[in-house]
């Protein structure tokens, strides 16, 4: 089996990473050696409904200065010690991406240091590998905007399986909203479902949609919401059934990709990675195949600036930077179109 290793020169210095693809505005400082020195975040919380891109972007613009200053302060470094600025170039919501990009361009120009455009999905996988020591995993990346099963093959993170409609995190978010459950604004919707599901006992059948290595969540969402509205089944049981169905689907496609690629590790990353039930299902599956199961630590599971900084360093070390005038944001930038030359296969 081929195991990729991280190559490239490790220089001295620090990279500031700016994340703003959706509702989080984050800034993190990472040393070129890999140490995370700070990771500061401010989340936009809508008064009602889901993320309004323009409102979220306004929030990001309001907090950007404060969050970035705080990241440098906690890292105990000055702006003049930064060697590069990395930002989430996509995929994500246009207005939000542009706000982060504007801050990054301004800083890079002012400090006369290189700008690095980072793919948000690559960053989630890289921080997962970096924090857990995974080398060549099948990565399940699950969040509010993405549901991807990926593995490295020939210079890229290939997408073997993905959602055909909405992301699993989005499915959880909408379900919680429709159920009128979001009592505490600061609690993640997935956490609300997880806690209620832990009290559920009775399993009710809901649409389970796996197509080869791809999945679909829209039918599950519709059915779960109507089940809730009928009020015939206890909310704990609906949450339990909903969660079991959604996560079993994710585990099944991950298993298929694992069997197909014959990799030796499974890595869970992204915001939904914090869910303990999903972790336990994947662990059971991975152990059945005699493979290692790794999960990104909580501090790096949701969108954050440190992961952008770390992916920025990996790019920078391979000479991948972007001139300010070409640093347009890419709203639909697919994971499998990005070359990741730092992951290189060793001789077998």
């Amino acid at each position: 089996m081929c195991l990729p290793k991280i190559v490239g020169s490790v220089r001295k210095g620090y990279c500031l990473g700016i994340e703003s693809t959706a509702d989080d505005f984050g800034a993190g400082v990472v040393a070129f050696g890999g140490e995370v020195l700070s990771n500061v975040n401010d989340t936009y919380v809508p008064e009602r409904g889901g993320i309004h891109p323009r409102e979220a972007a306004r929030h990001h613009a309001d907090v950007a200065g404060k969050v970035i200053a705080e990241a440098l302060k906690r890292a105990k470094i000055g702006y003049n010690e930064l060697a590069a600025i990395a930002f989430s170039q996509g995929p994500g919501l246009g207005p939000c991406l542009r706000t982060g990009a504007t801050a990054a361009r301004a800083l890079a120009s002012y400090l006369s240091i290189p700008l690095v455009g980072v793919n948000h999905c690559v960053a989630h996988i890289e921080i997962g590998k970096h924090a857990t020591g995974a080398r060549d995993p099948v990565a399940l990346y699950v969040s509010g905007g993405n549901t991807i099963v990926s593995a490295y093959e020939a210079r890229r993170y290939r997408v073997f399986g993905e959602t055909l409609d909405i992301a699993v995190g989005n499915c959880l978010d909408v379900f919680v909203r429709e159920a009128g459950l979001r009592a505490e604004a600061r609690k993640a919707p997935g956490k609300v479902v997880e806690e209620l599901a832990a009290k559920g006992k009775r399993f009710v059948s809901l649409p389970y949609t796996v197509k080869g290595m791809d999945l679909s969540f829209s039918g599950l969402l519709t059915a779960a919401v109507s089940l809730l509205r009928e009020k015939k089944v206890a909310i704990e049981d609906v949450c339990f059934s909903f969660q079991e169905t959604a996560f079993s689907m994710l585990t099944e496609v991950t298993e298929r990709v694992l069997a197909h690629t014959e990799k030796g590790e499974v890595l869970l990353t992204g915001g939904v990675a914090a869910n303990l039930r999903l972790q336990s299902m994947l662990r059971t599956m991975a152990e059945d195949h005699g493979t290692r199961f790794l999960v990104v630590p909580r501090e790096f599971s949701a969108d954050n600036g440190a992961m952008i900084a770390w992916a920025g360093i990996l790019n920078f070390n391979h000479g991948i930077t972007i001139p300010v005038e070409k640093s347009f944001v890419k709203l639909k930038w697919r994971l499998d179109t990005v070359e990741v030359p730092w992951v290189e296969e060793q001789e077998c």
Partner: protein
């Protein structure tokens, strides 16, 4: 005797009243709650022979199903004597090779024209019998759909399988497959699905075999 262990099911070679048979068993998944696991296993064990039968109605040979045990999630079916197309294709003469690929294309055309998508269409899942017949096996990932996307994925898998194991004659083989496909499905459907194949390739989500 276990002959193949996959992510979804295991295949055993068994004796069925004096005949060689394949027993396909879907193993329970420990990560799923038992109620859900049972439901899925039952549904799939039921679905697979149904699609195999529909394929026969479409004129595509598939193994004879002897027994379906929903309780045990097993299917007992005919062991098809012959060789996987994967094993024989490279050793054939050009004319034979083209004829075989053309025949495969016709059968895929029949499946698709009848709203069936195989789901795992590789040269390992097509058997060439000693008398020259072609039999399609493993409908475990099959779907009944008329979506061009699903058909495109089917043919893309076929193309990829040919390119990886039969690279010396890849283009010639796939052209022959498509010629057979067009004969059955018609020019319009063939063009439509080929466009889809190209689109799927550009998406880059499927990798070339190692």
């Amino acid at each position: 005797m276990l002959i193949k262990k996959g992510a979804e099911a295991s295949l055993y070679l068994e004796d069925w009243h004096g005949r060689k048979a394949i027993l396909k068993k879907r193993a329970p998944k420990k990560y799923r709650v038992p109620e859900l696991d049972k439901e899925i296993q039952t549904r799939r064990t039921k679905h697979e022979p149904q699609v195999m039968h529909r394929a026969k109605e479409a004129g595509v040979p598939t193994p004879i199903v002897f027994l379906v045990d929903l309780e045990e999630a097993t299917i007992v079916m005919e062991y098809v004597d012959g060789k996987q197309v994967k094993q024989v294709l490279n050793g054939l003469l050009q004319d034979e090779r083209k004829r075989l690929c053309g025949r495969i294309g016709e059968l895929v055309g029949k499946l698709h024209s009848n709203g069936i998508v195989h789901g795992d269409l590789t040269t390992s899942n097509i058997i060439l019998t000693p008398s020259g017949g072609v039999v399609f096996v493993d409908f475990g990932l099959s779907e009944q759909t008329s979506e061009v996307e699903a058909r495109g994925v089917d043919l893309h898998l076929m193309k990829r399988a040919i390119a990886s194991t039969h690279f010396m004659h890849a283009e010639e083989c796939f052209d022959a497959v498509m010629a057979g496909y067009e004969k059955i499905a018609g020019k319009k459907a063939a063009c439509e699905v080929l466009e889809k194949v190209a689109k799927i390739e550009r998406r880059g989500r499927y990798i070339s075999e190692r």
